[in-house]
């Protein structure tokens, strides 16, 4: 709710900003003159010098507001978007750029897992093949193998099977 107290706070924050911009000059609330207030909560304001003699030029006021924008915003718990100084573009915060982009980290994790999986699979099949080769060469000397290979070379005759002809899903 906008009321006179809020206006007082506004004038004091602008005075604070002017003090920061022009050190030495003791700006205070009466130096900030406000007019044309509307129900929208929009108004014009000008800044007088501490001795109420002269107007402070616009560029100085703009610089002051720009420098202390963050403090003014936080006094009202508003943002650059909700508190607008017409003609003064907000200086947006520089984006936080981490040293390694975060996506690269996740990518590295996934890639590592997948490559490990491949090495494991390919490696295990290579080892299996080597083992089979060794087994075959030792088995060739055994007599027992003759019997086994005879059975293996047969063709499965389907007409003698008891199984269901149709496999279920």
């Amino acid at each position: 709710m906008w009321d006179d107290n809020e206006m007082f706070l506004f004038r004091s924050t602008v005075a604070y900003a002017m003090r920061r911009q022009l050190p030495g000059q003791q700006f205070s609330v009466p130096n900030i003159v406000v007019c044309n207030e509307t129900a929208r909560v929009s108004f014009w304001f000008v800044v007088m010098s501490p001795d109420m003699g002269s107007l402070i030029p616009k560029q100085q006021v703009e610089k002051a507001v720009r420098m202390s924008r963050g403090r003014i915003n936080s006094a009202f718990m508003l943002t650059d978007h909700t508190l607008e100084f017409i003609g003064i573009a907000p200086t947006l915060a520089s984006p936080y750029t981490p040293d390694t982009p975060p996506w690269l980290i996740v990518f590295g994790v996934v890639m590592g897992v997948v490559v490990a999986g491949i090495i494991f699979l390919v490696g295990s099949s290579v080892v299996q093949k080597k083992r089979k080769k060794k087994q075959k060469s030792t088995d060739n000397n055994a007599e027992v193998n003759e019997e086994h290979s005879a059975v293996n070379e047969g063709v499965y005759n389907m007409s003698f099977t008891d199984e269901e002809r149709i496999t279920r899903i």
Binding site: A39, A89, T91, P95, V115, S125, I166, R168, I169
Partner: protein
Amino acid sequence: MGKDVRPNWDNPMQFVLACVSYAVGLGNVWRFPYLCQSHGGGGFLIPYLIMLVLEGIPLFYLELAIGQKMSLGSIGAWTAISPYLGGVGLASVVTSLYLCLYYNIINAWSFWYLFHSFQSVLPWAECPVNANLTGPIEECERATPTQYFFYRETLDISSNIEVNGGVHMGQALCLLLAWIITYLFIVRGVKSTGKVVYFTATFPYLVLFIYLIRGVTLHGAINGVVYMFTPKMEQLANPTTWINAATQIFFSLGLGFGSLIAFASYNQYNNNFERQAIVVSLINSSTSIFASIVTFSIYGFKATVNYENCLESIRVKLLNAFSLSEDTISMETVLDWIEKLNTTYPEQFAELGLEAVPCDLNKELDTAVEGTGLAFIVYSEAIKNMPLPQFWSVLYFIMLLLLGMGSMLGNVTAIITPLRDFKIFSRMSNELFNGLVCLFCLLLGFGFTTPSGNYWFTMFNDYGATFSLLFIVLIEVITVSYIYGIKRFEKDIEDMLGHRPNWYWKIMWVVVSPVLLIALFIFYIVNYIQGGTPTYQAWDKDLGKAVVTEYPVFGQLFIALLLVSSVSCVPLTALYAYCKKKQRKQPNQRKRTISTVSA
């Protein structure tokens, strides 16, 4: 009996899941909802289901039968059916190769988005600031943050297909990862594929279900669902509706690529594929419908959010222009106030430059989008507005990845299986051969990660497979019904299943499907000729939107090359077979032997 026994699926369930994983892909999520919306909502289901019955299931059955009977990949199977028509199998392999090249790029994009979801603020939620920190980057201002993220940060897209540049490193890395994972899934052939499909076929349904619950509870979701399902029956009179329904069934089931033949060739001889064919086709179609409910609730949410944001910005504009206090205009009364202020202060109001009806919910809903635009732009826009967006984003892109990877399994298997039937390749170990195929596709796929890569992707997507598939499947069904003979085919099926196919199947194969396919084929040709120069959507960074551009001459030549290279396999192979036969007849001068095909 060869030394290498053909590997088999561990059990019939693996085969069914493999088919489901292959058929249920990205098209179910992003093509069907679009078609449903643009062709009369709920009414579209009528032509869709009719086409499913008339061409989808019979053709699916046909391909499974051939694969299971011949126990060979597409090239071997078709050569066995008729030596002159081995080219059909070769055309399938070529088309599958084109598909493999560009399909994995989508998975690369899904990975990119997935990895970028692990941030406190999603990178597509806000525009990044420009160099002197005064405001957002202009290109992002003119477009939306999600579009900017997709076109600039993901693709780094150029202004048209002729302008090119270097490879996008992030994209290239993601593509590499996609191919490595594909290799991991197929490295041992059917043995590894069979285990993977348990996951890739079932997990997407879990995610879809979670998204369904999330989707229908979103604010404004009901708008989208109502909009989609309101049947506009007059659309049924439009022939394009029926043609799109037929084409959708066709591509959604993945007919003609040779993947189904390849999968079925690893079956036991007596596997009951008849029931499996019906089950998989029905699962595919119901998934499409299910996914479109999810898509449209998300759509409705996004449209409602945009509509309300639009109202809000109008409200602020009015408050600022007429210096009213904050609580005079609320969201509900914005439109009334527009009228009131227009009548009381017409000149001041005109200065604002508002249209008569500035925010329209139906217009928001009408912006029908399909394809990559839907998946990566519209959906991510909806996600950023949800509470806890990182979780939903991760979940969504994992689902896209599973759908895409599941289809890739089928695509790569369609290339590997027929090639392995040849003696030269079967001597190589499984791992080495599969690795070489993946490496080959990866290297060619890097071309799609360049700035103009997305335009080439669109070209491949639109022209690489569509026409050739129609041609292939038409030849397939005519070959089986007339050249091989429907009676012989019946006998083969009886041999495998124990009963003949009933009259429904036979009528579809002999009459209905060929007629439908010929009609679709003619329609495509007519459409292509009538359409003039083929065009594509080029992203204009100054305007911040996509602009319709014609393909340059080399682009059109390449399109022709894509079409001709796969289609010409059929006549060329026939010619080759004919020449070989003549050659063989010369020295021996004996009667032509009849090759026995079935036992």
